[in-house]
C-alpha cells in the first residue's frame, strides 16, 4: 500500500479470512474463485495430509466471504472490519 498511497483511495474496510486448517480437504475452490486472488495453497500439511489455504496477500483481501460460501467443508470464512 505504501507505493501507491497517493493514487489509491484509503480503504474503508479491511478484510481477512479465518481458516480451520484441520477441517480442510484441499479442494482449492476458495483459491480458484477468490475475486482478488488473495489466497494460495499452504506449503505445509494439516493433520489429514491436505494443503489448506493461506492468505498469501493480506492487503488484497476485502473480506467478501465468497471463499466461505464456496467451502464444502466449512473450514474458511472471510470477515470485514471497518477502519476507524
Amino acid at each position: 500500500m505504501s507505493d501507491n498511497e497517493g493514487t489509491k483511495k484509503p480503504k474503508k474496510v479491511l478484510g481477512t479470512v479465518h481458516v480451520d486448517r484441520d477441517r480442510c480437504k484441499g479442494c482449492a475452490f476458495c483459491i480458484e474463485f477468490c475475486p482478488t486472488h488473495a489466497l494460495e495453497l499452504d506449503k505445509g500439511f494439516n493433520a489429514k495430509g491436505y494443503h489448506p489455504p493461506v492468505l498469501a496477500r493480506p492487503d488484497d483481501c476485502n473480506g467478501c466471504d465468497l471463499c466461505g460460501l464456496y467451502c464444502p467443508d466449512f473450514s474458511i470464512f472471510g470477515v470485514m472490519t471497518k477502519v476507524a
Binding site: 479465518h18 466461505g68 460460501l69 464444502p72 467443508d73 466449512f74 470477515v79
Partner: protein, 292 residues
C-alpha cells in the same frame, strides 16, 4: 491469526460429526453451505424447521445439520416428509436428497407430491451418478458417459428434472450448479418463504466416480467447466433443459407460480361439502396467503 471469530454456518452444523464423509472436491458441502446461509437470510424459525433425507451421499446432509432431522429409508424421503407436514402443519419441512434417491427409487413419490402440491421444499443434488454405491448409472446420467454398470457408455435417455417437476405441477422450479453459490442461496431463500411444492436442482461434481471414470479431472475442473459452459436463462422453457455429456448447462429460475396446496384444496372442498360444521385443517406457517 486470532481464531476468536466463528464460522457463520457453525450454528447450523453438528460439529461433533465434522469433518464430513464427502470426498475432496465434492459439491454437496457447498450446497449445504448455501443452504445454511439461506436459512439465516429467510429468518425461518429453526425450532420449527425439519430436514428429511433419503439414502446416499446427499442423504448424509440430515445428519450434519443441527435441525430436527430424519434420515429415512431409500427413496422414501418425500413420504416421510409428507407425513411430517400433515401431522404438524406448522413445520417447515425440507427434503434434501440426491437424484438417485429422489428420482429413481423415489420417483413415484416425487411426481405425486408435486401433483398434490404438498407443502415441501425439495432440494435435489444431482451429480449424475450413484456416488455412495460405486458409480452406477442414475436417472440423470447423460448419454455417452461411462459408468460401472455401463462400461461402453450409457445409452438411456436421462431425466430432465426441471421439466419433470414443472409438468407435475411444482410451484417453484430452479436449477443452479455449485458454481452459482450466490444465485443458489437466493433461490433457496425465495423457495423457503413460498408455499407449495418447491423444487431446486443443484448440479454438483462427483470427483471420485463421475469425473474420474470419464476422465474429466477433479472437482475443481468440474467447477471451472460449470463456470465456462453454464448459461443463465431465467424463465426458460423447461422442455429445453436437457443435459448431455459435457454440453452447456442451462441454469436459472424457471417456474414461479401459485396453486392451492394439498391442505388448502382439502379445506376448500370439505368446506363446500360440509359447510360450517367442518373445522378447517391448520395450513401452516405461510397460511392466509402470506406467502411471497
Amino acid at each position: 491469526m486470532s481464531d476468536t471469530a466463528t464460522n457463520p454456518v457453525n450454528p447450523y452444523l453438528r460439529l461433533e460429526r465434522m469433518p464430513s464423509i464427502w470426498c475432496p472436491g465434492c459439491g454437496i458441502g457447498t450446497s449445504v453451505n448455501c443452504f445454511a446461509r439461506a436459512l439465516t437470510q429467510a429468518k425461518l424459525d429453526l425450532k420449527m424447521t425439519s430436514i428429511v433425507s433419503g439414502i446416499g451421499c446427499t442423504g448424509r446432509v440430515s445428519g450434519y445439520m443441527s435441525l430436527d432431522s430424519f434420515h429415512t429409508t431409500h427413496g422414501r424421503a418425500i413420504p416421510f416428509a409428507t407425513g411430517l407436514k400433515l401431522a404438524n402443519p406448522d413445520l417447515n419441512v425440507i427434503v434434501y436428497s440426491g437424484e438417485g434417491d429422489l428420482m429413481a427409487i423415489g420417483g413415484n413419490h416425487f411426481i405425486h407430491a408435486a401433483r398434490r402440491n404438498m407443502d415441501l421444499l425439495v432440494v435435489c443434488v444431482n451429480n449424475f451418478t450413484y456416488g455412495m454405491t460405486g458409480g452406477q448409472v442414475s436417472p440423470t446420467s447423460p448419454g455417452g458417459a461411462t459408468y460401472t454398470t455401463a462400461p461402453f457408455g450409457q445409452f438411456e435417455e436421462p431425466f430432465n428434472l426441471p421439466h419433470l417437476a414443472d409438468s407435475c405441477g411444482a410451484v417453484y422450479v430452479s436449477r443452479w450448479t455449485t458454481f452459482h453459490v450466490r444465485q443458489l442461496t437466493k433461490s433457496m431463500r425465495e423457495a423457503m418463504t413460498k408455499k407449495g411444492f418447491r423444487f431446486i436442482e443443484v448440479i454438483s461434481p462427483c470427483p471420485t466416480l463421475y469425473q474420474r471414470r470419464n476422465k474429466l479431472g477433479d472437482g475443481l475442473d468440474a467447477m471451472k467447466f460449470y463456470k465456462e459452459s453454464s448459461v443463465v436463462k431465467n424463465g426458460a422453457d423447461t422442455r429445453d433443459l436437457n443435459i448431455g455429456f459435457q454440453t452447456p448447462i442451462t441454469v436459472g429460475n424457471f417456474v414461479n407460480r401459485s396453486r392451492p396446496s394439498f391442505i388448502e384444496a382439502q379445506n376448500k372442498r370439505y368446506t363446500e361439502v360440509f359447510g360450517p360444521s367442518y373445522k378447517p385443517y391448520p395450513e401452516g406457517p405461510h397460511g392466509n396467503g402470506a406467502n411471497a
